[in-house]
Amino acid sequence: DAMVIQNPRYQVTQFGKPVTLSCSQTLNHNVMYWYQQKSSQAPKLLFHYYDKDFNNEADTPDNFQSRRPNTSFCFLDIRSPGLGDAAMYLCATSRGAGGPRGEQFFGPGTRLTVL
């Protein structure tokens, strides 16, 4: 089945130790998104790629970076995780931007713990 895959499902890192979260998709969608979701809150968009075009949300901290080496893969790099970065990180994809092509398909998420 076509899907959005996130690895690992659970990630533990230490304060200040860089960590990379992975997302892959078999849907061949043009757009990939990264969201941060803290407990009891709605998902918060960090950035998204339309093909290779990167779009950063204005309030996304510089500590967060992303790479999309090809259509199928997208990575979230947290350069120096702080305790406040502990959260669920959700990857999503969509065929296009807006309209019926803007429907987003979500992966299962990676739950990040920072010690």
């Binding site: 009891s40 709605a42 968009l45 959700l90 807006g98 019926p100 092509r101 803007g102 979500f106």
Partner: protein, 114 residues
Amino acid sequence: AQKVTQAQTEISVVEKEDVTLDCVYETRDTTYYLFWYKQPPSGELVFLIRRNSFDEQNEISGRYSWNFQKSTSSFNFTITASQVVDSAVYFCALNADSWGKFQFGAGTQVVVTP
């Protein structure tokens, strides 16, 4: 500006009761899409329904039904004869941006007890 309001933080019901989740939205766009997602404790956001602004037909899918009313900018969701497996957080979302960015509501936690 876009805004989605889910005023109910948590709803607790006993199994087999009906539960209605409210969603009120604001947008200046004339073309937009509304979504409901379910997030069980496992964390994955599961797509439930999409409705575009030109289609005000209500929809029923099994025990789920949706009532879209443009006049009141509401897109409410009802679970009939609730089951324990319906326990989850439910998010309403609006997409009225050409980049396809979602505006999520704060979510409503539904707790169904046996």
